[in-house]
């Protein structure tokens, strides 16, 4: 098991992968799950004049994508510093 003091490249890579898996799960849920697989049941709910499933497919998923990339960039840059592998 890794300790919080573990600053090895292997631990850095593991933390990177963990972050990626969490963010890519969200990526999958908002597009494939809400926008395609569950689109019909979600369309029963409306968001203003949008059926919700349709909204995820044509609007919502894209907003979430933008947020995901910035969260990843921010967290990874912090992780780089924590493991002292950032550039200058």
């Amino acid at each position: 098991m890794s300790t919080p003091q573990d600053k090895s490249p292997a631990e850095y890579w593991k933390r990177n992968l963990r972050l990626m898996i969490i963010l890519l799960s969200i990526w999958f849920v908002v597009s494939y799950l809400f926008g395609i697989i569950l689109v019909t049941p979600l369309n029963a709910i409306s968001l203003g004049g949008y059926p919700l499933g349709f909204w995820f497919a044509q609007q919502g998923s894209m907003y979430v994508f933008v947020v995901l990339i910035f969260v990843y960039a921010k967290k990874m840059n912090a992780l780089d510093k924590e493991f002292d592998v950032h550039e200058d």
Binding site: L23, V39, G49, F54, D80
Partner: protein, 593 residues
Amino acid sequence: MELKTLTFIVVGLTFALYIGIAIWARARTTGDFYVAGKGIHPVANGMATAADWMSAASFISMAGLIAFLGYGGSVFLMGWTGGYVLLAMLLAPYLRKFGKYTVPEFVGDRYYSQTARIVAVICLIVASVTYVIGQMRGIGVAFSRFMEVEFSTGLFTGMAIVFVYAVLGGMKGITYTQIAQYCVLIFAYTVPAVFISLNLTGDPIPQLALGATMADGSGLHLLEKLDLIVTDLGFKEYSTASNGNMLNMFLYTFSLMIGTAGLPHVIIRFFTVPKVRDARYSAGWALVFIAILYTTAPAVGAMARLNLMETIQIGPVGSPEGNLLISETPEWMDRWATTGLLAWEDKNGDGRIQYYDEAGMGERAAEYGWKGNEMTKVDRDIMVLANPEIAGLPNWVIALVAAGGIAAALSTAAGLLLAIASAISHDLLKGVFRPDISEKQELMASRVAMAFAIGVAAYFGLNPPGFAAQVVALAFGLAASSIFPVLMLGIFDKRANSSGAIAGMLVGLGVTLLYIFWFKGWFFIPGTNMAPNDAAHWILGISPEAFGAVGAAFNFATAFFVSRATAAPPEHIQHLVEDIRVPRGAVASASDH
């Protein structure tokens, strides 16, 4: 002022701007030519990437396809944006750390094999040339419209301009020009969308207007009204019409996503930022700038469809006065008719136009005395350009949209041509066959390669295998199935070796090309297809545009198992993989052994 003159002036001014910038920043060394000396800020790079990325397919074609596909058009929206998430997390930072000029260079070094590099060049050329074909179609549509000439004349004019433009510049010229192009194209896309949103709903923000209530006093939401109108004329309900079955929607979206992350002209962008940190943010900024257009597009599509239906169906369905008189067709219809991309025919001789879906309408059409759908040609690729005309917006807006469409097509065509040129001159000539050529000769070779690629693309642009966005979707499928898997395995699987990568790329590209040619004709030559191109004949209902995801699965599986069945990569390659996983430090050169 007359529309044609005005369009010439607006297009001419934007051109002068791009060419001015290209000359000002003319490439002098090969480093500048390919990656602008790695000195571009992430926000600037993001904006240039967005312009590079948003091609004629995004600007001219996509909203038109959405207009006719309805909900099914979502595959383009999610597919072409979701890929950036993959790019940002799976590829961009590592490829930047690796620090080479081209994708095949990475493949060649990571898989310590010139053969792998050559196969990567082939994959890259196949995907990029297919992509340029899609662009040429868009360029032809835009030029034929604003010059008011036939489609083929428009195409040849556009071709000549792309050639001069791409050959003059290089990456640096292109990066700064593309920032200017982004500004022109996003302004041109959103201005008419805002006007039309205001007209229809009173809400100026297209993203909100699509979900707003109509301003016509009916009390209906825009989407409800659109659903009513189209279903009344036998078309599928807009907000639920699916693009094939659910599996097809799923794979189509997935192909476009991983294709985005595998397209060489997009990846090459992330070689141009100064740091790994910047590569991560660059992808985010690129997506911000792309999303501005992509979240507007569904509103543009829905509103264009609504306006088109209401232009032709002026009264209640079935009443004799309910349809547009041919003698009263608006000016925009006559103008588009000259390009041959819009056509109508009075089949029942009542002097009016009936536009409906024959299968969906069934018996009702005969009761009304209708003898078939009379809008015999409504090219999807004209919808965005025609949209401001349909909505009756001022001429300067129409001229602006033409300029924006041309900016979008030019910037992407130039970026792609650069990727093709660098693959041939840098990877094949300098990297493999003639390592001793001078920089000057390398530049010359890349220019010859560009000219050749434009010629091939123009030929197919005249006989396109689909609408611009569909051809581009094919290109993404090819990139998805050939390039993406080996790049990803190269970073995430230390055990992946040269035999695995080569076999994976060949299998992925092979099955995808086979499936596409099977239904679309060998090398897209009409009439040579082996089976009719429709859902009944596709395997499990998977369209050729969606097959890239399946090809990618073949590629992954082949590369994975062949790698494990053969010898592990040499130790210095395993170190190289460890090096590219962390931002700091130099990457051990693959040739130092």
